[in-house]
């Protein structure tokens, strides 16, 4: 018993030899463990279990093949090429639609003289129509404002909105 005590002391001090450690483990696995040594039994049992734990196998993940199938890649390349051509077309020919103005799309006479250039006629016509629209818009602005105020100040609408809000609050409280 003294021998076991000495080995235990050496074990806890970290000076026990491997053979002594082996003897201790065999002792605690046997049925002859003395009552005063019972407290150490779970510790040596745990060491034994620890020994049995097998380290998990670390598997290196296989590198995924991110390459898309050939057909999809080909489609992507084709779509990108078409988009690039369209973009190039838009950049290089931004005024193409302007050349498509027909000579009879616009008829403009300024002080009795006809404007023969369709582009100039278009610019002048748009300017004139916009000017007229602006006069009409500014003239009707007070009327539009008055209508808006009238709609906002409508008593029926105000009461309807209020009753809806009250109903909503009541419903929420229930």
């Amino acid at each position: 018993m003294n021998n076991v005590n000495d080995i235990l002391n050496a074990y806890f001090e970290g000076t026990a030899l491997p053979e002594e450690e082996k003897r201790l483990k065999e002792y605690f696995q046997s049925n002859t463990v003395l009552p005063q040594h019972e407290v150490y039994k779970p510790m040596f049992a745990a060491f034994d279990v620890e020994k049995q734990i097998v380290a998990p196998i670390f598997v290196i993940p296989v590198k995924k093949n991110n390459k898309k199938p050939f057909l999809i890649r080909k489609l992507w390349i084709s779509a990108a090429s078409i988009a690039a051509v369209i973009l190039l077309g838009v950049i290089l020919f931004p005024f193409k639609n302007k050349t498509e103005i027909s000579s009879d799309d616009y008829v403009v006479f300024i002080h009795g003289k006809a404007i023969s250039d369709p582009h100039k006629a278009q610019v002048y016509a748009n300017k004139m129509f916009m000017q007229a629209n602006e006069i009409i818009r500014t003239s009707y602005e007070p009327l539009v404002k008055a209508n808006t105020i009238q709609k906002e100040m409508d008593a029926d609408k105000i009461f309807d909105d209020l009753s809806q809000k009250i109903n909503h609050i009541k419903y929420d409280n229930q």
């Binding site: 027909s102 009879d104 799309d105 616009y106 008829v107 403009v108 006479f109 300024i110 002080h111 009795g112 003289k113 006809a114 002048y124 016509a125 748009n126 004139m128 129509f129 916009m130 007229a132 629209n133 006069i135 009409i136 818009r137 500014t138 003239s139 009707y140 007070p142 009327l143």
Partner: protein, 146 residues
């Protein structure tokens, strides 16, 4: 008797056609006059028509109709008598063509009148803008969308 009715019907149709074109005749009369400026657009595109929009009703009209052209006649003149005579001519043409007056707005010295006429062929809208020394008449035609 049948012949008389036929002739009367043709004459009535002719008279109606003639009277319905009074305003357009006015445009034709003054388009090349050096005192006036004239602008015609064969078909107002979507953006042009958006500029014309003033209310939901007009938006609804624009959804259900196609622009069949718009024209505008402008008189910039210091000659008061010319202003007055041209104004009278426009008013007479509007009456003859049986346009319905939709609104009149006076804003300072500026006066804007709008007129409208509906027929089987579509809707015609006229804006008559009167400023001192400046008169504008715009005519917008719309055909029903098929």
């Amino acid at each position: 008797m049948k012949k008389i009715f036929s002739i009367m019907f043709v004459m009535l149709a002719f008279a109606t056609t003639i009277s319905a074109q009074q305003l357009e005749k006015l445009f034709d009369k003054y388009m090349e006059d050096e005192r006036f400026n004239y602008v015609f657009q064969k078909k107002a595109n979507m953006m042009d028509r958006l500029n014309d929009l003033e209310s939901i009703e007009v938006w609804e009209l624009s959804k259900s109709s196609i622009s069949t052209g718009r024209q505008m006649l402008t008189l910039n003149s210091a000659d008061k008598s010319l202003d007055e005579s041209f104004t009278r001519e426009v008013e007479n043409a509007l009456k003859a063509d049986k346009y319905e007056q939709v609104s009149i707005v006076r804003n300072g010295k500026n006066r804007v009148e709008t007129y409208e006429k509906n027929s089987d062929k579509g809707t015609t809208k006229v804006s008559f803008i009167k400023n001192p020394g400046n008169i504008m008449v715009t005519l917008n035609s719309y055909a029903p969308r098929k």
